[in-house]
Amino acid sequence: MSTTVTAPTPTETGGGGRRRRWTPGRIALLLAALVLTAAWLLPLAWAVATSLKPESETTGTPLAWIGSRVTFDAYTKVWESGELTRWFLNSAYISLMTTALTVLTCAMAAYGFTRTHFRGRRLLHGLVLAGIMVPPQVLIAPLFREMVQLGLVDTYWGVILPQVAVPAMVFILVKFFDGVPRELEEAAFVDGAGRWRVFWTIVVPLSRPVLAAVAIFTFISTWNNFLWPFLVTTDPNGMTLPVGLVNVQSSFGVRYAQIMASLVIAGLPLLVVFALFQRQIVRGIAHTGLAGQ
């Protein structure tokens, strides 16, 4: 795991000379990179282009990038149908709640494991670490049966709670807390602060970057999660955006502009998150390598 990366700026690692010359070899590399970039962006650009066409011009060959007119009809239609709005709000609520609960419980647990002493602490810590080995996907059958018994099928909590206890996040935070000197906390305590005050006024502010990373990853993975929300919601009103979209893909019929418009709407929050937090996301992945889980 590469924990020493500090995301250097290009000039810091500039090899021999400060700025490389544009040799023919380097120009060839640049062209290759640009071709690959175009290949990667093509499907996305095509989705956006299709969503802006009149419905009658979305298929057939050969296809033009831009239809006879640029129209937002598809967007207003999917938005007016109401379902998409509903799923968008469900996804937002579920993702934000999951993120808040995950950050809170994992940060508290990691603090408890690194800074406190109680009987059974090592055992419990080991139990949490061992949980990293258990992919949630192998638990779908027993977990669903438990949800039936708890009456949580088709509820927000049924989607949220199983996504909250992520051992990998505790692992990341424990590693971070281990590297933070304890003197500040000790001094605060001598000054009369209680353990809660120490946690909230010293530990949390000091850990803001790592907490932000955990929050961003939790939000992304919750917004994108498909399998569990798909299993635990049967009522269309309670579906998250990805589940709802997959569920109705057939009922769209051949209205490709509308399908693409709804995909753009579903993907947009993630691209906004990326634009806002590009640095934290990149650094978080480089530091932990765990974001994909």
Binding site: S2, V5, P10, T13, G15, G16, G25, R26, A33, L36, T37, W40, P43, W46, T59, T61, P62, L63, G112, T116, H117, F118, R121, L124, L127, G131, I132, V134, P135, Q137, V138, L139, I140, A141, P142, L143, F144, R145, V148, Q149, L161, P162, A165, E185, V190, V198, L227, L231, L241, P242, V246, A266, L270, L271, F274, Q278, A286, G289, G292, Q293
Partner: protein, 319 residues
């Protein structure tokens, strides 16, 4: 949970004295009551991870259906049936085949893109945006996009690309057994290669520049520097990338379920989809649990690679 009136014993044991306010700062009492901090996490963890893991073993020994009724103890019958079930084996094979087909390009393309971006050192935001941003999209969005816009025959992007270079379009990208799995792999590469790209890029940026400077002074060309400095230094990152990739690929479900539904003729159906079909559409939750644990047994050795190699490294370092 410990109440504030009863501090946990280890602290008192360490100092060997009764609790006395005067000795507080010495005994670091802010380290008391740790259970209060870990309790919320542990509660959720116990109910939604540990308990299903344990109860699932019990369920797998019964003939239960999904509502929890009608369960009779059947011993290892479910496991015995699973081992004789040809569909379990074909789904496991599809899962492993997908893992092989996807891991190789995902690691190599990820490495290639990272080398490219690292060499160029210009417009890094553009490379990150185009190669990494798709990783952040929901599987539902990516798979619907590919199923509805890239792979349909005729107007789909893939067919149009064929037509534009003069080849015969009209390939059943998702409906022909020869191409369906490859189309799922291609979609997955487009979608998730950015993660490996970022891991490799970070590792490349951590290589100290003086190594290259020294090699350049010795007259080593670009290819020599790549082969003798860069690639050897990336070995540990490669282990990490491969393990994470294999784990992610073994858990394939979304792409297949959304794009092919497991078809044509179950030729792409992974093991997780078989669990879903048995448990959630066939209502055989006991049998589905048994198949899940067989799948778990397949995954577990791979997830143990990283902690074990980390321990070995630590032991070697200690010597």
């Amino acid at each position: 949970m410990t109440s504030t009136a009863a501090p946990p014993p280890p602290v008192a044991k360490r100092t060997g004295t009764a609790r006395r306010p005067a000795a507080r700062s010495v005994r670091r009492p802010w380290t008391e009551h740790g259970l209060v901090f870990v309790a919320p996490f542990l509660a959720v963890y116990a109910v939604f991870l540990i308990w299903p893991l344990i109860s699932g073993v019990g369920i797998s020994l019964t003939s239960e259906n999904i509502t929890g009724s009608g369960g009779e103890f059947v011993g290892l019958d479910n496991y015995a049936e699973a081992i004789r079930d040809g569909e379990v084996w074909s789904s496991l094979w599809n899962t492993v085949w997908f893992t092989v087909l996807s891991t190789v390009p995902l690691v190599l393309v990820g490495l290639g893109l990272a080398l490219l971006a690292h060499q160029l050192r210009v417009v890094q935001w553009l490379w990150r945006l185009s190669w990494f941003a798709p990783f952040l999209l929901p599987s539902g969005v990516v798979c619907l996009l590919f199923a509805q816009m890239v792979f349909p025959s005729g107007f789909g992007l893939a067919d149009q690309l064929l037509a534009s270079v003069g080849l015969e379009p009209g390939i059943g990208w998702l409906s022909d057994e020869r191409y369906a799995m490859l189309s799922v792999v291609a979609t997955t590469v487009w979608w998730t290669v950015g993660f490996n790209f970022l891991l490799y890029l970070a590792a490349l940026q951590a290589v100290p520049a003086h190594l290259y400077e020294a090699a350049e002074l010795d007259g080593a060309g670009a290819w020599k520097r790549l082969a003798h400095i860069t690639l050897p230094l990336l070995r540990r990152t490669t282990v990490l990338v491969v393990v994470l990739q294999v784990l992610a690929s073994l858990k394939i479900f979304d792409q297949v379920y959304i794009m092919t539904g497991g078809g044509p003729d179950d030729s792409t159906r992974p093991i997780l989809q078989y669990v879903y079909q048995q448990g959630f559409t066939g209502y055989r939750i006991g049998y589905a649990s048994a198949v899940s644990y067989i799948f778990f047994a397949l995954i577990l050795p791979v997830s143990l690679v990283r902690p074990l190699s980390a321990r070995r490294r630590a032991e070697e370092a200690a010597k």
